[in-house]
């Protein structure tokens, strides 16, 4: 019991240390292209994409208590949407923002249906919708290219009409673009979880009944959380086409929905940075394991079992109290 009180205090002290850590991290990211090669940048981009995907997932799961198995559906809408837009008009911002927006619309439309239920029925509904999107991606040849997917997607220049146009062909340029977008999106998410809305999400997770009896229309807020998660999934997906120049149906499959779940589990469900740390760990572990054996799924499975059985707070729960969602809230005078 005393430990919890201590944690509250520790977090207040952890604030300054946290800022230093974040600063160091940003610096490291800026310098990466200078020391690492093309491959390192490529992996870093993939980590950033997964981090965004997982961040959105955790706003829905860790913060609001809703377990969705269909996030890959919105990831795919973002990816395919961006690809289509880039093929239409080769402007990077147009594609990324457009793809994200489309994913948001899809999340709103499907969310209205999904949030009518909770717990297991909600999860199953998200699975069904996710797989419906997958079957569209796979079978609707005329629009999505079927199992070949969409190819020849340009890594379009970053354009703001009449202001600037930056060519993005080099990996380094795209790396900086993705990092900038990711850092911005992370900052926005951070602000969100520390806001009244973020606290409301947590209240919903802890007790929907009590939340309703504070006068809050719970369903509406579940929908907001769902749309936020969908937007982040869509943003993550939208960063994909320009990287690989192609988008294929597996991005919509329920096994892709598992990636952010696993990353969040590894990093820590109950903390803001958990999904980000988890995304990094996910790739790092995969990279290491794959050097020794092709059977990396079984290792991942073992890690999942170990985490679920003993370390449900993920890696960050072992780093006591610093990065938790629980923190001392002091009013500004």
């Amino acid at each position: 019991m005393a430990a919890d009180v201590m944690h509250a205090g520790a977090q207040a002290r952890g604030g300054a240390g946290g800022r230093v850590a974040v600063g160091a991290l940003v610096l490291a990211l800026m310098l990466l292209p200078l020391v690492g090669g093309r491959y390192a940048q490529y992996v870093a981009i993939q980590v950033a994409i997964l981090a965004l995907f997982a961040l959105g997932f955790n706003i829905l799961f860790g913060y609001s208590g809703l377990l969705s198995f269909g996030q890959a559906g919105f990831y795919a809408v973002g990816a395919y949407g961006c690809a289509k837009l880039l093929l239409l008009k080769p402007s990077l911002l147009f594609g990324v923002i457009g793809g994200t927006a489309l994913a948001g619309v899809a999340a709103l439309a499907l969310g209205v249906l999904c949030i009518r239920h909770t717990r297991i029925y909600f999860s199953m509904l998200t699975l069904a919708f996710g797989m419906m999107i997958f079957s569209l991606a796979l079978k609707w040849r005329d629009f999505t290219g079927g199992d070949d997917g969409l190819v020849g997607i340009p890594r379009a220049p970053l354009e703001i009409p009449w202001v600037l146009s930056i060519d993005m062909a080099s990996m380094g340029r795209y790396y900086y673009f993705v990092m900038a977008v990711a850092l911005l999106a992370i900052a926005v998410a951070y602000r969100l979880v520390r806001s009244p809305l973020g606290l409301t999400f947590q209240g919903i997770r802890d007790s929907e009944t009590r939340m309703a009896f504070t006068g809050v229309p719970v369903r509406r807020y579940r929908l907001i959380a769902f749309v936020v998660a969908g937007l982040y999934a869509g943003l993550a997906g939208a960063l994909l086409p320009a990287l690989e120049n192609t988008v294929t149906p597996p991005v919509a499959h329920w096994s892709t929905s598992a990636d952010p779940v696993l990353a969040t589990l590894m990093g820590g469900v109950q903390s803001f940075a958990g999904p980000i740390v988890g995304a990094f760990l996910f790739f790092m572990i995969k990279d290491i394991i794959v050097r020794f054996t092709e059977y990396w799924l079984i290792c991942l499975g073992v890690i999942v079992v170990v985490l679920v059985m003993g370390f449900r707070g993920g890696v960050l729960s072992l780093v006591e109290g610093r990065w938790r969602t629980r923190r001392r809230v002091e009013v500004e005078s």
Partner: protein, 285 residues
Amino acid sequence: METLVFQGLIGLSLAMYLWLISAGLTIIFGVLGVINFAHGSLFMLGAYFAFTFYGLLGWNFGLAIAGSLAGVALVGWVMERWFLRALYGVDEAYQLLLTFGFVLILDDAVKIVWGGLFRIPPIPAFLEGSWSVVGRPFPVYNAFIIAAGVAVGIVLWLGFEGTWWGKTVRATASDREMANAIGVNVPRVFSGVFMVGAMLAALGGALGTPVRVASPGLGAAMIIQAFVITVIGGLGNLKGAFVGSLIVGVLSAYGTLRFPEFEMFLIYLIMAVVLLVRPQGLFAR
């Protein structure tokens, strides 16, 4: 017309595999409250075991099936007794994640043990050949599958309605605390039910092998269909699972004939609609 009937029968035999895996999944949910993601993998394991015992080691068909059931029951017991049981008090989400972890482990494990290739054991001699149905050759094996599926359905129904064990299980399913209070060893019931569910999945896989290939992707393919069926029939509803399997099996068979493009989408659409409109399933009381 003949095509319709014939395809319907094909759909019926397909439905039986689906029934076997869905029955197990729905029973496990109904009693333990857990959605076992790894159920498809248990089905797949059953297929691989059967292939090994019958196809590689040359055991008698019946013995091979029995061996397959025993092997998967053991795996299921380990999963429930040593892992799942520890999580009963914890948020259901973690139970789901645990079963997902097992999917990853099992799916790769079969690759390690049996390699990544497809495995197809021969059909036992006494079930070879085909009968002429509406002027077409209908494989005897498929008829056997249909018979087996119906037989299992009857056994399960009798078991749950008639036997003492069946009644105990139903009592535990409807009110765990009450059952505990009257002296039922609830953890043991849970283990037993999980093993029965696992064996049903294994049976489906084992019987299916001569017709459906045993491959590493089999688990993932089956679990999704099992989910759809248990939702349509109602989570925990055995009769519903049977009817749901018939619907999905026959629809799939017709679907591949007429609308191969739409079939997949349609099945998930039905799942979504049922969840939205009648989440307790089409056949809930």
